[in-house]
Amino acid sequence: MEGVLSHTTTTAQWAEGLRRNDPKTLSSLYTRHFPTVCNYVQQNNGSEDDARDVFQESMVVLWLSVKEGRIVPEADPGGFIFRVAKNKWLDVLRSAAHRNMKVVQSERIVDPTDVVDADIEERIVRLRGVYDKLDDKCRQVLDQFYYERKDLATIATGMGVEEESIRTIKYRCMMKLRAFRKAIRGEEERQG
């Protein structure tokens, strides 16, 4: 199988990079695979902005699939991204706004992993719902710690506060999320 990233030697490295939220891996995957998706979308009545939207959504599906061990790391990410992006764009084309447009390739790519994709999509919606509950201040601290994997001292220095304050802010933000989820669960139990 062809190496996926120019700076890596094995195909599994792109998956490891995604698991670590490595910015270089993300950027390499974007640079390498976006043109194919863009080409397809533009041939089918879409703009470059449309292509970016479906490509980024497809990257999210790839990322979560890797994080949760739903695809084998040896799989070709280019093929995966293209299949998800194509199906997403075909869904857009079927929407009311695009009913009258001519579609060059309209067949949906059927794949045994489509069932997994549907499950992943639901999970992404659910996770976005959780993230939406965080205010900007919490996102600022939590993003740096959990996504960028910066240590507390680095975050504290960057924000001009004490390390202990960042540690407390992180704890309090996560407890707010926990309290919110608890309230939702209580509400569901009362209704159900």
């Binding site: 939220n21 993300l26 974007y30 970016r52 979560l64 959780v130 201040k137 407890m175």
Partner: protein, 240 residues
């Protein structure tokens, strides 16, 4: 799921387990507990989901950033002459705007000497005076308007608290609301027994300097041992 608050030690243990940063031996013990403690297992599952949600938010931001960088068109050669003219016009306009809106002497001195109070360390307890701590978090993160609003609400119940009054004034200064900060600082500066009196006097001096009220600024006397005495004298000298 555990009822009530999750203490910080347990939260951080779960976090280390989920992030894979827990030492091997500790991890073994933790997994042993997970086999018999359904509440702890539920907490681990929930925290895994919360961390994943935060990571997803970060990923979407990162993807948008990469998309924006790649979409930005590089300026073509043929646009260069127009860009040069546009840049020259922009420089002239900026210079004119700066001249019209240039800072006053007081504003310049204030900008040169003002260092925001770093605030108090945010306490570990999530229940101890939570409203005050929430405001302190906002203040530390530069959200001065929110901090001021929260502390002002608390001040209604505790109008004599010098801590609340001082930090309300600090938030007002941070928000550029000098008119709101000055009377509060004046009050605290005159309470000689308050641990905030000296700092309040210094910030009052700076706020009056910003507003060009040299008479009021000069009326504030600094003890020679005060850490700000020399700086205040230098500002007074600059006014002359």
């Amino acid at each position: 799921m555990m009822n009530g608050m999750l203490d910080r030690d347990t939260f951080e243990a779960i976090e280390a387990y989920v992030l894979g940063t827990m030492p091997a031996l500790e991890r073994e013990r933790f997994e042993e507990r997970l086999r018999t403690d359904a509440d702890l297992l539920a907490e681990v599952e929930q925290q895994t989901e919360h961390i994943r949600a935060v990571e997803l938010g970060g990923l979407q931001r990162a993807l948008k950033d990469i998309g924006r960088q790649q979409a930005a068109p590089a300026p073509g050669r043929s646009w260069m002459p127009y860009l040069k003219v546009a840049a020259a016009v922009a420089v002239v306009l900026c210079a004119a705007l700066w001249y019209l809106n240039r800072p006053t002497t007081g504003e310049r001195l204030y900008a040169a000497h003002y260092q925001p109070d770093p605030g108090l360390p945010v306490a570990m307890s999530a229940t101890d005076d939570q409203a005050f701590q929430d405001a302190m978090v906002a203040y530390k993160l530069g959200d001065h308007a929110e901090a001021k609003a929260k502390w002002s609400t608390l001040l209604k119940d505790r109008p004599k608290s010098d801590t609340l009054r001082y930090y309300t004034a600090m938030a007002a200064l941070g928000a550029g609301e000098f008119g709101a900060a000055i009377p509060v600082l004046d009050d605290v500066a005159h309470e000689r027994t308050s641990p905030f009196a000296s700092k309040a006097a210094w910030y009052l001096f700076l706020a009056c300097t910003h507003e060009g009220d040299t008479a009021r600024a000069n009326a504030i006397h600094f003890d020679p041992a005060d850490p700000h005495a020399a700086e205040a004298a230098a500002i007074q000298q600059a006014w002359r």
